[in-house]
Subunit: 470 residues, 2 copies
């Protein structure tokens, strides 16, 4: 708040737990995690307010007016307002504790019906309570790390002169060929079903078939070729019937695009970007990261640290295929020049061969989209995929084709209609420039940093086939 | 970039234009705005690269190899790479200019077909070229200010301990009653139309009717009542057939929500928030803001400054209605206790009566949604609207009803089905706490700061009835 704002009348637990807060009289507001009654005539209650992973232990003496009626009835999930004095704690693992002078219960949580009891629940089970799971240690920590990653994304691009540009969510272009799209309509489906057809799009909101975006890239290019450096960061959609731990129907994607950047600039940007995000998580979410390292994925701290410390390796796709063809590893999918690499290949390259992050470049033109820049050999394009140990591809990008004639040839080969792309081609007709960009799926990044196994557990309310609850 | 990154090999114009850059040898990359040939044997070319409003003037001597063939053929929109030395400029309004040693043309822009010639185009016309309009002074400035507002939003909440929380875009709840919603489906509409009905939602992606969100608030409350302070910032949708200068079918909204905040805390948060955004725009976008003040809305700087400097006024709705009933102004819509205030009433209050920003509170329960907290008088709710001169309402918010019995009564009165809100009611069943929040439409804020008259001109690609082009 600005200096004009009165100090908030209560202290957040992230501050109350600091050593230097000992001696301070304060008020705490939060939710009970556990209660333990001591024979000595007082109760220890652990309070959490979401500001950090750790709880504040409060020591409530039997002398409190409501000790028998309320304090001794506190259970997980109850909300309380507590006043008292912070003192240096004799207990391990906490710098301070609160000696209570007053405790007021705001809301009870009936232990017979409140789902989040001390018993551990599986992540699958917790998805059914997506409205309550942020009250658990794991999901609180995930959300704080996710928040830090988002802030680092904005800070990194802001500091480097990239403008945040919101590209449209609803689009009438169904022509990017990037998987199945959701339809958006205001037509009454029940009446439509009875109509016998044909569909009268004149009566639909946008006057033509409309969809949810699968990428902001093409729109982003229009702004990069005007303002220099931009990035999009928003929701993106895939109507793929994929019930896997790595797919969501709705996810957030960040897509920088920079005029005058070639592939080398793009790769350096991606490396700096990932290192910045990971460094910020280690520096600003140390407590949460220690939790993930201990409880979710042993070694995740070391894995992230190794990405930060090493310069990324570089290999062409052609070199990578040679390595894969000549290694002794057994792969489920065969590999040869011209095939798309599978996760198993990518992971072999980054984990076994390079033993660190590696950027693959110069993929066959035939397996990459029309907008990637054709190389002098005519067979490859200026694409790059960033591979990291533990997951494989985390970022995909390319230099874009800025030559009008080459681009229209590629579109013809791909069976695309130039008229659908009149505005995209205009960028090459008028003052065309080399430019490049990449895409990072936010949830994939959160999974990587936290070690969480299922992508549905790193987004507030996952949307997957059959599931749009909450 | 990190220190590891090689200095980019070219200088951005925002840096090249600084006084202290005089004397530096550098490369510039950008687009031609104008060219003027001097009789003295050289040409002045204005270059812009989007990094700032102002152009860099380059002085290209006739001695250049390509002077006749290329330099003298440069027109608006051509892309160039220019090398030379920055010198202190003798001309007014610019600290530096570039003495050219080499100029390379990357892309031409045929003046017979390139739409953005020196001639001024109306904003209406420019909407047809939404892919090119960021190349104009006005839209470049709008996008830089919009970017600054977004960054200020993130910074403000981050610094105050609010977690950025992405609430879902696709939702199966159609029950918030906040206007018309878009349907999202993977059903083949052409086949559906021929089917004769009924609609088989089992075959739709989510297995039930699904929509685009109109607000992230209810989902946001689930996270605030777990993590304390959160905010959403994402796209929001209204399928209203409103062809006005203030409505979009797709717009971005920021919605903070904070546990343990009452209405007073909420109002202070809104005031601090607006002041921070406006202050940042004045401090970090001074050149763009001067442009808006001169070309778009005279006095916009003063208007924003006055919002920053004054403490916001406070009035209850009841007091406001008394003022309106007893003033001499002529209103199109009559006003009496229980009616919703119109823009004309709001503007009278902030512009004529208070002569500054004012927060109206305690609206009649009957004209406000079910989730707002019922006051002791039973007739009003703890709502607040922030009104500012020049536009009227810019922020709307409330303390939320945290009492389960009062909330379910309000829902019954509103004809809402408790089962549809089982998860929202759980927040009151288990550890309920007072909490509050508000909503700000990003585009309304950008309009206010820039003085732009039409909301379609402050978003990259506006979506309105009949328009989802690009």
């Amino acid at each position: 708040m600005t200096s004009e704002r009165k100090q908030a009348e209560w202290m957040r637990i992230v501050d109350a737990r600091k050593e230097e807060s000992a001696g301070v009289d304060c008020e705490i507001r939060g939710w009970v995690r556990t209660r333990r009654d001591s024979k000595g005539g007082f109760s220890f209650v652990e309070i959490n307010d979401g500001s950090c992973l750790g709880n504040l232990q409060i020591v409530a003496p039997a002398e409190l007016d409501n000790y028998a009626d309320e304090v001794q009835k506190l259970t997980a999930g109850c909300s309380v307002v507590v006043q008292g004095k912070l003192e240096t704690s004799p207990a391990k693992g906490q710098a301070t504790e609160l000696q209570v002078t007053s405790l007021r219960v705001l809301g009870w949580a009936d232990p017979d019906t409140y789902p989040l009891q001390k018993k551990r629940h599986s992540f699958e089970k917790l998805r059914e309570w997506a409205h309550l799971r942020p009250r658990t240690n794991t999901f609180g920590a995930v959300m704080r790390v996710r928040n830090q990653i988002c802030q680092s994304i904005h800070d990194f691009f802001h500091e480097n002169g990239f403008l945040y540009t919101q590209t449209p969510i609803i689009t009438a272009s169904d022509c990017e060929g990037a998987g199945e799209m959701f339809r958006v309509t205001t037509l009454d489906l029940d009446r439509l079903a009875k109509s016998g057809g044909p569909v009268k799009y004149d009566y639909d909101f946008f006057g033509k078939p409309s969809y949810l975006t699968v990428s902001g890239q093409l729109n982003g290019e229009t702004f990069a070729t005007a303002l220099g450096r931009i990035y999009t960061f928003g929701p993106t959609f895939r109507a793929e019937n994929s019930n896997t731990s790595r797919h969501l129907a709705e996810f957030w994607m960040v897509e920088p695009e920079a005029a005058f950047f070639d592939l080398a600039d793009d790769m350096q940007l991606a490396e700096d970007f990932l290192k910045r995000i990971f460094t910020d998580c280690l520096n600003h979410c140390a407590e949460d990261m220690a939790f993930f390292n201990e409880r979710i994925q042993k070694g995740v701290l070391e894995q992230i640290q190794s990405v930060i410390e090493r310069p990324f390796g570089h290999m062409t796709y052609t070199e990578a295929v040679e390595v894969l063809e000549n290694c002794n590893a057994k792969f489920e999918y065969p590999v040869s020049w011209g095939t798309d690499l599978q996760a198993e290949h990518e992971r072999y390259l980054t984990e076994q061969h390079v033993k660190g992050p590696v950027i693959l470049t110069d993929y066959p033109a035939e397996i990459k989209p029309f907008y990637m820049r054709v190389s002098d050999d005519r067979k490859t394009v200026a694409a790059m995929d960033v591979l990291v140990p533990g997951v494989g591809e985390i970022i995909g990008g390319s230099q874009r084709e800025e030559r009008l004639d080459v681009l229209t040839n590629r579109m013809a080969e791909a069976g695309l209609n130039e008229e659908d792309y009149w505005w995209y081609l205009d960028l090459r007709r008028f003052g065309t420039v080399p430019h490049a960009g990449f895409g990072l799926g936010l949830e994939r990044a959160v999974q990587y940093v936290t070690g969480m196994g299922n992508i549905r557990d790193v987004i507030p309310f996952p949307r997957t086939p059959g599931n749009a609850e909450f």
